[in-house]
């Protein structure tokens, strides 16, 4: 989804420096310090994880760290709430299947 370049009330969004990170191995750019979920949203990523039992997709829902729908595997650690975790250079972000980055963990 598109970033807002200029806002009638808020002006231009204040952002940190551009950093590179990977999403499922693909290199993406985002701004340092913004939530990982925001960088993913700006890159058009909608699905953050698939549920364990029914393999249903989940993405951003509350965006304030409450609902845990947006959790992903970040730098090898599962269940990271991407909507409240700041983005850093070189982060490895992966779609989460159940509690793993490997798709075969969902059955």
């Amino acid at each position: 989804m598109e970033r807002i370049r200029e806002h009638p009330i808020l002006g231009e969004p204040e952002k940190g420096k551009t950093v590179k990170f990977t999403f499922d191995g693909k290199e993406i750019e985002g701004y340092e310090g913004e939530p990982i979920a925001v960088a993913l949203k700006a890159a058009g990523v909608m699905v953050h994880r698939y549920t364990k039992k029914e393999h249903k997709p989940r993405g951003i829902f509350c965006a304030i760290g409450r609902c845990t729908d947006c959790v992903m595997v970040v730098d090898g650690k599962p269940n990271i709430r991407t909507c409240v975790t700041p983005l850093a250079e070189g982060m490895k972000v992966q779609t989460q299947y159940a509690v793993s980055a490997k798709e075969d963990h969902v059955s």
Partner: protein, 533 residues
């Protein structure tokens, strides 16, 4: 274990206000907040607030947030961020999760100002990525500068649903429809009217029956509901959308108070399970207070007053503040709070069917059902009058505690009087200078300047405009009516934007004279799609 005179949980409007008031009285205060930044939801509120000068009316929410933070800093309030209070026990002891450790703190008094969480409704496909809370939309667009979606359907016509719909359009999203299962719009009519005049259709007595899409939302189906809120088969309507935004109310986050053993009650008008509190927020445990949405869902303006009350009471409880001083402060704050709890939308009127204003004028059915006042209803209201020369037309039709327009006019053209909820009326004696301060000061964007004798056959209408791109002088387009329908050709003859307007631009458009009471919004011609046709 660290010990403080006062521990405040939550650094939103009420928590910060409580901490400021207590710190002023000399208490050592610490505020814990689980978020990365303080201010609660204030920094997502980009509209001008309602109320009076004392309630920071016509100031935008984020600006109020900045002022609160500066004040907290000045009086030495310590705010600990990224810290989640996870427990509250006997003798005012709390456990706090900091990074991956759990630490214990003790307060001689505690104020819980944890706010509220969004409610949700379920429908087929509601877990699909692309179905988001209205709060999530505000967070994404107003804090992080990313559009929540391209084409969005909003469910919920309370103030959150209305305000967020407008904000979505301000950042460049398209809102395809606003839907509510209730038969009438829940939020302020003026908020609905500014969404409706942009062309957004309202579907009352409708609900979402299905979110479509495999991996994420690609469409939505809504259906009309019967008197029991059950979808009526055969009434389905489909919209292509990528995002569904849900704004169906808030529930107090009162778990900590319950855990500590405070007496609780189920109070539907306050939004759910809330602590039993006295007039100043003290719970059944002395020295433990609740302030803001956690003790009943209201507005940020009242949350700030409740916070100040709890802060003063905590100070008195610990002997920092003399009884007389406390009573003096509390009586002033009580008066302020009471003045905010008046009018049609007052907590005591929730769920009541009000069909007349305080002045005895019939409320607009069209406003409640479609989001705009119909042409044959508009002239009932005292702010809508005819006059020679330039003059304000105030399309304010509900009793809301709000009066900045009265003070905005230096020539005293606008009368509300002492009672803040009264509808504004026009003072025939005074002469309008056309300065536009009233237009920019109206938090509901309900004031227009009209000049009927501008040039033979034409009139001008000046309207508040908070969108980009800003039209240019001389630009031609179409004027939209209150209902958002194209009503005539229009040409921009003036654009004003001064610091005193606080980011609200004033567009003056020239329209045929017979459209002077109808034309209320401008749409540049190059953008005019069939939505406005």
């Amino acid at each position: 274990m660290k010990r403080y005179d006062l521990i405040v949980v939550g650094a939103g409007p009420s928590g910060l206000s409580a901490a400021i008031e207590a710190a002023r009285q000399g208490l050592s205060v610490i505020v814990f907040d689980e978020n990365e930044k303080p201010g609660g939801q204030l920094f997502k509120q980009i509209h001008k607030f309602f109320g009076s000068k004392e309630h920071k009316a016509k100031i935008r929410g984020y600006q109020i947030g900045r002022e609160l933070l500066a004040e907290a800093d000045k009086v030495g309030v310590q705010v600990k961020l990224n810290t989640t209070v996870i427990g509250m026990y006997q003798d005012k002891e709390i456990t706090v999760c900091i990074e991956e450790n759990v630490r214990h703190y003790k307060g001689d008094s505690i104020i819980i100002a944890t706010g509220a969480a969004e409610n949700m409704v379920t429908f087929e496909g509601w877990t699909l990525p692309g179905v988001i809370g209205a709060g999530a939309a505000q967070t994404l667009m107003n804090l992080h500068g990313v559009k929540p979606g391209a084409k969005i359907l909003m469910l919920g016509s309370g103030n959150v649903g209305l305000v967020v719909s407008f904000q979505l359009m301000q950042c460049g999203c398209e809102v395809v429809a606003l839907v509510d299962a209730a038969p009438t719009i829940g939020g302020y009519g003026v908020h609905a009217a500014k969404v409706a005049r942009c062309g957004v259709p309202f579907y009352l007595s409708h609900t979402i029956t299905k979110a479509e899409g495999k991996d994420h939302v690609t469409g939505v189906v809504i259906s009309e509901v019967d008197n029991n809120f059950q979808p009526i088969p055969g009434t389905e309507k489909h919209f292509d959308v990528d995002t569904i935004c849900v704004a169906v109310g808030l529930s107090p986050m009162s778990q900590l108070l319950k855990m500590a053993g405070c007496k609780m009650e189920d109070h539907p008008r306050r939004g759910g399970e809330v602590p039993v509190v006295d007039a100043y927020g003290e719970t059944s445990i002395s020295g433990v207070f609740a302030a803001g949405d956690v003790s009943g869902i209201e507005e940020a303006s009242s949350a700030m007053i409740e916070g100040r009350m709890a802060g003063v009471c905590a100070a008195t409880y610990l002997g920092f503040c003399e009884k007389e001083e406390k009573e003096e402060i509390l009586s002033g704050l009580s008066k302020d709070l009471d003045s905010l709890r008046q009018g049609m939308f007052a907590p005591k009127n929730r769920g009541k069917n009000i069909d007349k204003t305080e002045e005895g004028i019939a409320v607009s059915d069209n406003l409640l059902q479609k989001g705009y006042i119909a042409d044959d209803e508009i002239e009932r209201y005292p702010g809508v009058t005819d006059k020679k020369g330039i003059h304000p037309v105030i399309e304010c039709s509900q009793n809301i505690p709000c009066n900045p327009c009265q003070d905005a006019c230096s020539r005293k053209c606008i009368k509300i009087g002492k009672k803040m909820t009264s509808l504004p009326s026009i003072n025939d004696e005074a002469e309008c200078s056309g300065c536009g301060m009233c237009v920019a000061s109206c938090s509901g964007q309900a004031i227009f300047l009209v000049k009927e004798d501008d040039e033979e056959g034409y009139a001008t209408v000046t309207l508040p405009y908070e969108f980009l791109p800003l039209p240019q002088k001389g630009e031609k387009g179409v004027a939209l009516s209150r209902s958002g329908k194209k009503c005539c050709e229009a040409e921009i003859v003036e654009i004003r934007n001064v610091p005193a307007f606080d980011h609200t631009s004033l567009l003056t458009m020239k329209v045929p004279i017979d459209m002077v009471k109808t034309a209320r919004f401008f749409q540049a011609s190059q953008k005019g799609g069939d939505r406005y046709g």
